[in-house]
C-alpha cells in the first residue's frame, strides 16, 4: 500500500537538503499534538459510556478501548511536551490547555448522542460505533505511515499502537455489520449515523506540509525547513494554519502533487478496509459533502469546551495537587 504514495527509491544524502531526501527527523510538537489530542478526546468520549453500555460486554469493551487510547495519548503528550520550550508534562497539556490549543479532529469531539441531539442527550450507540469504526480504519493507515516515517520516536509509539488499533477495528467492524445488517430500526439508525458523521471525515484527508513531512518519506526542502522552524519555536507559527479566511492553506506548487498523492493513498487504504464491511452491513455510502472542519488547527465547535470543562475540572480546581 505504501508503495503507491512513495516516490521511487529516495536516496539518503549527506549534502544540503534536496528534494526526495530521506533522513531521520523530529516532528514538531504541533504535529505530535494532532495525534495525541485525537487519542485523548476519543478516549474521553468512549469513556463516557462506562456504566451506560447497552450490554455489559460492550460497557467493558468501550472502557478498555478508551484505556488503550488514553495510553497512546499519554505517550504522545509526554513526547510532545518534552519537545517544547520550556518542556511541559502530559498533565500540563491535558489539563491546562484551553480548547483553542487542542489539535484534534472536530469529528472526535462530537457528543456520543450525535450531531443534532440536544445538549446532555443520551448517547447513541449507532453514532458511537460509526465513529469508532471509521476512525480505527483511518488510524491503521496513519500508524503504518508513522511507522515507516522519518521520526523514530513516533515510529516507536506507532509500532505499539497499531497492534491495539487492529483489535479496535475488529470490534468496530463486527458491530457495523451486526447493527447495519440487523433489524429495520438498527439499520435505519446506522444509516442516519453514517450520513451525519461522514462530512466530518473530510478533515482527515485535508493534509498539509507537516503531514507530507512526517506521514511520508517524500520530503521537499521547503517542507523540511518549515518543520525545522516549528521545532525551534516556543510558540509554533500558526500563520500558515489558522488564517481566518483560509483554514487549510492552498499548497504551494511543489507541494500540491505529493500532497494529493499522500491524501489519495491514505483515503484509498481507508476505503479498502471500510467498503467491504459497509457492503456486508448493507449500509450505503453517503453522498459527498462540502463540509471541512478545522479542529486540527484549533478551531473547534461548541462541544470541545464542554468536554474539557469536565475533563479538566479537578486538576484546575487543585492546580499542582498530587495523588
Amino acid at each position: 500500500m505504501l508503495q503507491e504514495t512513495d516516490p521511487p527509491t529516495p536516496q539518503p544524502t549527506t549534502g544540503p537538503e534536496t528534494p526526495g531526501a530521506v533522513r531521520a527527523a523530529t516532528a514538531p510538537p504541533e504535529f505530535v499534538l494532532r495525534w495525541a489530542d485525537n487519542a485523548l478526546i476519543h478516549s474521553q468520549r468512549l469513556g463516557e459510556w462506562t456504566g451506560h453500555g447497552p450490554v455489559l460486554e460492550e460497557d467493558i469493551a468501550l472502557a478498555n478501548i478508551a484505556l488503550d487510547h488514553l495510553g497512546q495519548a499519554r505517550m504522545l503528550l509526554s513526547h510532545a511536551g518534552r519537545l517544547m520550550d520550556p518542556p511541559q508534562t502530559e498533565d500540563d497539556l491535558a489539563y491546562f490547555r484551553d480548547a483553542a490549543a487542542f489539535r484534534n479532529f472536530t469529528a472526535l469531539e462530537l457528543p456520543n448522542s450525535g450531531v443534532h441531539a440536544a445538549r446532555g442527550a443520551q448517547g447513541d450507540y449507532a453514532f458511537t460505533i460509526v465513529r469508532h469504526a471509521l476512525y480505527s480504519a483511518y488510524m491503521l493507515a496513519v500508524w503504518e505511515r508513522l511507522l515507516a516515517g522519518p521520526d523514530a520516536n513516533l515510529a516507536q509509539i506507532a509500532g505499539k499502537a497499531i497492534k491495539e488499533t487492529r483489535y479496535h477495528w475488529r470490534h468496530a467492524s463486527d458491530w457495523l455489520v451486526k447493527l447495519g445488517d440487523g433489524t429495520e430500526p438498527s439499520h435505519q439508525r446506522m444509516q442516519m449515523a453514517l450520513e451525519q458523521f461522514m462530512p466530518y471525515t473530510n478533515e482527515w484527508f485535508a493534509l498539509d506540509a507537516l503531514d507530507l513531512a512526517f506521514l511520508s518519506r517524500h520530503v521537499t526542502s521547503d517542507c523540511r525547513a518549515h518543520s525545522a522552524r516549528s521545532a525551534g519555536d516556543a510558540a509554533p507559527d500558526h500563520a500558515h494554519f489558522s488564517r481566518p479566511d483560509q483554514c487549510h492553506i492552498a499548497a504551494a506548487a511543489d507541494f500540491r502533487q505529493p500532497l494529493e498523492a499522500l491524501a489519495g493513498g491514505l483515503r484509498a487504504q481507508w476505503l479498502a478496509l471500510l467498503e467491504p464491511v459497509l457492503a456486508e452491513s448493507t449500509l450505503t455510502w453517503p453522498s459527498p459533502s462540502a463540509l471541512l472542519t478545522c479542529g486540527r488547527y484549533g478551531r473547534h465547535g461548541e462541544h470541545l469546551s464542554v468536554l474539557l470543562a469536565e475533563l479538566q475540572s479537578v486538576a484546575r480546581a487543585h492546580p499542582g495537587a498530587q495523588w
Partner: protein
C-alpha cells in the same frame, strides 16, 4: 519474535546479574502467578558507577500495571542496597505476547488463563471470517485451561483487563480468560 526478548546476562558483573534476576522474579501485579521475567517486560540493566538503570517495556500502551511495575522494581533495587536507581520505559521493539516464556504459559494455564497464541506476524493479524466466528467457531485454536477441550466460544472481546478476552468452554461450561495475542 522471541529472539528480541532475552536479556543478555553474560556482559554483566555478578552483582548486576543478581539484581537482574531479582527484578525478573518480581510477580506481575495483575497476574501474580507469573513474573516480570516470564512476561518478557524486563529489557535490560545497565550501570554507571553507583547508578543503576533497569529498562522495562510496557505491554499495552494504556496498561495501568506499568506504573506499579515501575515502583516495585525501584523498591526491589532499594531493598538490595542500590540507593541510586532508576527505571526507564523503552518502547522499541514493541512488546509482543510471544515474549511470554514457556514457563509463563504453563503457569497461566494452571491459573485458569488460556495463554496467547503464536505471533501475529510482523504487521498483520489474520482474522477468521466473520460468519465462521459468529457460528461459534473460534480462530484462536485455544483450549480450555481446565478440561483441555477445543470447543470454546468467545463471550467478550475484552475481559477483566484490556489484555484479556472472556471465553467459555462448551464442554465443562466454565468461563475462562484468554491472554490476547499481541
Amino acid at each position: 519474535m522471541s529472539s528480541d526478548a532475552p536479556v543478555a546476562h553474560s556482559t554483566l558483573a555478578a552483582v548486576d546479574t543478581a539484581l537482574l534476576e531479582a527484578v525478573c522474579a518480581i510477580p506481575d501485579p495483575e497476574i501474580p502467578v507469573i513474573t516480570l521475567g516470564d512476561l518478557g517486560v524486563v529489557r535490560g540493566l545497565s550501570r554507571r558507577d553507583a547508578h543503576v538503570e533497569v529498562q522495562i517495556t510496557p505491554t499495552y500502551c494504556g496498561c495501568p500495571a506499568t506504573e506499579m511495575i515501575r515502583s516495585e522494581v525501584l523498591q526491589t533495587l532499594h531493598a538490595l542496597g542500590e540507593t541510586s536507581a532508576q527505571v526507564r520505559i523503552v518502547l522499541s521493539p514493541a512488546w509482543s505476547s510471544t515474549w511470554i516464556s514457556e514457563d509463563g504459559r504453563q503457569k497461566l494455564r494452571a491459573y485458569g488463563i488460556a495463554p496467547p497464541g503464536p505471533s501475529c506476524g510482523g504487521t498483520s493479524i489474520r482474522w477468521m471470517d466473520r460468519r465462521a466466528r459468529s457460528a461459534g467457531h473460534d480462530e484462536s485454536g485455544l483450549r480450555c485451561p481446565r478440561c483441555d477441550s477445543g470447543e470454546v466460544e468467545r463471550l467478550s472481546e475484552f475481559g477483566s483487563t484490556p489484555c484479556k478476552a472472556l471465553y467459555r468452554c462448551l464442554a465443562c461450561r466454565e468461563p475462562f480468560d484468554f491472554f490476547k495475542t499481541l
